[in-house]
Symmetry: C2
Subunit: 106 residues, 2 copies
DNA sequence: TTGCTATTTGGTATTATAGCCAAATAGCAA
DNA sequence: TTGCTATTTGGCTATAATACCAAATAGCAA
């Protein structure tokens, strides 16, 4: 495996890793319906606001979200709506698992 | 967030987490071209065979790969070729990042 | 300025992940 | 059986991720 190929997989892994957490998937799902501020997301998630803020920072660092400060609030937006195709793809893996009685859902 | 919703995101996160490693992405990419045994993958990756074997076990546990033993070799196959749409999606996030001079590639 | 609210950052404990080596297991062949 | 090869598993260490609390920062308003 040459260095360039490796670098490409590392870059891809960084994006995927940023999505690899239930709370962050929830955030992406919510933001696909429109921007939200940290407080709104924190209420929905029910964790400490600092925890939510750090999850948002992870997604932003990966280039999945962007933020804009308006007054006291910071609003986060999905910058790459294509990310939503992730969900379809993952769901189809889950369905395949379910068919093979290897479901993680239930 | 109700328990069922949470369970769905946790199930999705497990699949995504299994993909969130450069070596495992490489494996998935290779297997998209056809089945390979552990030895072949180990040669390409250049890590310890036990390390490769553990990566394969992670992907298998997530329901992304299946294995079949034939003689001394264990052959691994992608059970969900849809997983390849991941790559397109991730690449488009990377392109967006690059456009915004936030590229992780270079 | 002071005070209030929204958010981020720092510190820390806990838990999970990754990689290697060594040992165990499985299958074939002599 | 013994020996050889392919693979997995166990043990270990090092590194990274997560979540909370507390403290710092930023912006508005009085």
């Amino acid at each position: 495996m040459d260095a360039q190929t490796q670098a490409r997989f590392e870059a891809q892994a960084r994006i995927i890793k940023a999505m690899a957490h239930p709370t962050r998937l929830f955030i992406v799902d919510q933001l696909s319906k429109g921007e939200k501020c940290v407080f709104e997301l924190t209420e929905m998630i029910g964790a400490d606001m600092s925890t939510v803020s750090k999850h948002l920072a992870v997604l932003k660092a990966a280039g999945i979200l962007s933020d804009s400060k308006r007054g006291l609030q910071v609003y986060y937006t999905l910058c790459c709506p294509c990310v939503m195709t992730f969900f379809n793809c993952v769901e189809s893996v889950l369905r395949t698992n379910a068919e093979q009685h290897l479901s993680f859902v239930e």
